[in-house]
């Protein structure tokens, strides 16, 4: 499973820049991210190459951050590639809270980060269906 860093962001200018700077100055590489917002606040979700150091660094700078475990899977970069995997989860009654795609060096597959409610069950389903699961070594060191 992959450690994802989540940061609470008030909707005001300069917040995202600040976080990117803190991580950049600490030599931490942001590998992928997703951000959504409500009218008042947002949650920034990131995959970085050194998650533990990133948390420590953010906390030291007074930025509230937390770790969430997510699953990384590889799906064919072709029409219907994602749909097939989502159908497996749906059939197994596993609710996906959110997902986003991950930046990777050019290959024929896409990498999807997925946050689900029942993480262990989800992994079982994916393994049974032979969906390639991407390990943390590969994600952090792309």
């Amino acid at each position: 499973m992959i450690k994802q860093i989540s940061v609470f962001l008030e909707n005001k200018s300069g917040r995202l820049v600040r976080i990117a700077q803190v991580l950049g100055e600490a030599g931490i590489n942001i590998r992928g991210l997703s951000i959504a917002d409500t009218s008042d606040f947002g949650i920034l979700r990131m995959i970085v190459d050194q998650p533990d150091q990133a948390i420590a660094e953010l906390k030291e700078k007074g930025i509230m951050a937390t770790v969430t475990e997510v699953i990384a899977i590889e799906v064919p970069d072709t029409p219907g590639g994602l749909a097939k995997v989502l159908a497996y989860m749906n059939d197994a009654g596993i609710n996906i809270e959110y997902l986003y795609s991950f930046i990777e060096k050019p290959t024929t597959n896409a990498i999807i980060m997925m946050r689900v409610e029942k993480i262990n069950e989800a992994l079982e389903v994916l393994k049974k269906q032979n969906v390639p699961i991407v390990g943390d070594d590969r994600i952090y060191s792309f």
């Binding site: 609470f8 008030e10 008042d40 937390t66």
Partner: protein
């Protein structure tokens, strides 16, 4: 208790004696009052009548703030056994120090107020006021012990556990803020209990202003008799006035706390029955004496005797302190009420800012900005939104108005040791 039933003549005698003693003590032992008397050119050792007493200048909240921390002391600090302080929402806290005798007298006053409310030595009472610098928790605690009641010192927070203990212990009386009593009722219903089945008989409410609607709502939900009591840290804490079983106002313990009603603009002492600002002089205070303290509370001293037979006069329920009240959509709101609510949530810090949204010259809405704590932060939007809704719901039962809640990053609100600006006004389209 005895002093609740004495004749007016007997009371006047006690008051005169107490006033002379208090004034002499303040003059002889408090550098603060010595300075005030000298500046006004009066020597209280010459005082003979209550009219002389009316020459003493009023003491204000600002005076007490300026004396932070120990400027009001009239005994050496080693005689002080305990220190309490007000929350200091609008500036430096106000400090009160108590000698052994002060603590004993204070507990005696609180015991009288609890007895009026219907508490006896057989009653099991849960205290859901915070225990700490706030005078509410410890004040009620020692007063109830003095009365001989069985005290459950729960303190504030952890509503679900409060409810389950209250049920298991067969608690009959509850000490809390009125808003917390309402919130507990709501939580009880959510947990599938019926509040009326708890068997609570008496509510002793204080710590914030109340309205008739709020008291009636509490009585209906819990099936109890709601009584309100009154006090303030600057004078002593709770135990200055309290409601008996008859309702209609609060008996003020005027043999112990000498009351006057003044015109808040001119300072003129008003006749019995007139509405004005309550001014109090505790007649028994050794540690941090205070004379003619302007409470900022608007009320009146009623001439009509109470059906319970007590001879102490009634004052009207306090609907709010005049100086920090905010009016939105016709609803009176006090920052202290909001503070009390936020203190119950571990997901947010006690730092907050009130933003009054003003439209075309009218106060249209209230936004409460509050900082998340690490405990409150979740990676899930729905959990953060649920938190906002929970805070909003609790505030709605307290304020009769549902404000907008805005979550902020930790430490994003300005901290200052001096006057914190907690209320800002924003014009909206």
């Amino acid at each position: 208790m005895k002093n609740d039933y004495i004749s007016p003549e007997e009371r006047a005698e006690l008051q005169m004696k107490g006033l002379l003693q208090s004034v002499a003590h303040a003059y002889n032992n408090s550098p603060f009052y010595r300075n005030i008397f000298d500046k006004a050119g009066i020597n209280p050792n010459d005082f003979k009548t209550v009219e002389d007493y009316a020459k003493i200048p009023f003491t204000t909240k600002q005076d007490l703030r300026d004396c932070y921390p120990y400027g009001m002391a009239a005994v050496p600090l080693d005689k002080i056994l305990r220190i309490h302080a007000s929350s200091g929402t609008t500036g430096k806290p106000i400090v009160a120090g108590y000698t052994r005798r002060d603590l004993d007298d204070w507990a005696g006053s609180v015991a009288r107020v609890c007895e009026m409310a219907g508490v006896t030595e057989k009653t099991i009472v849960q205290i859901s006021f915070g225990y700490g610098l706030f005078t509410g928790g410890f004040g009620l605690h020692y007063g109830l012990e003095k009365l001989g009641a069985t005290v459950v010192p729960f303190s504030s927070g952890n509503t679900e556990r409060q409810l389950s203990l209250m049920k298991d212990f067969k608690t009959e009386a509850l000490v809390s803020t009125p808003s917390f009593a309402l919130y507990m009722a709501e939580t009880a219903v959510e947990l599938g209990y019926s509040p009326a089945d708890f068997g609570l008989k008496i509510g002793l409410f204080g710590g914030e202003p109340t309205s008739d609607a709020m008291r009636e709502d509490i009585e209906k939900q819990w099936g109890l008799k709601a009584t309100v009591n009154y006090g303030l840290t600057e004078v002593v804490g709770p135990g200055i006035a309290g409601e008996c079983q008859c309702g209609g106002g609060m008996h003020i313990l005027e043999d112990t706390y000498y009351p006057e009603i003044i015109d808040p603009k001119t300072g003129e002492v008003l006749a019995e029955g007139a509405i004005g600002e309550l001014v109090l002089t505790p007649l028994c205070k050794e540690g941090f004496p205070v004379l003619r303290y302007r409470t900022g509370d608007i009320t009146r001293l009623k001439a009509e005797p109470c059906a319970c037979g007590r001879t102490t006069r009634l004052i009207d329920y306090i609907t709010g302190r005049s100086d920090d009240m905010i009016i939105i959509k016709g609803v009176n709101i006090f920052p202290s009420q909001i503070e009390e609510v936020l203190a119950g949530f571990k997901e947010v810090s006690p730092h907050y800012r009130l933003v009054l949204l003003k439209q075309k010259g009218f106060m249209k809405d209230l936004e409460i900005q509050v900082e998340l704590t690490p405990e409150g932060f979740s990676d899930r939007y729905k959990e953060l939104e649920a938190l906002e809704n929970r805070i909003r719901r609790y505030l709605r039962s307290t304020l009769s108005l549902a404000p907008k809640i805005k979550l902020l990053e930790p430490k994003s609100l300005e901290r200052s040791t001096g006057k914190t600006k907690r209320v800002v006004i924003r014009e909206i389209e």
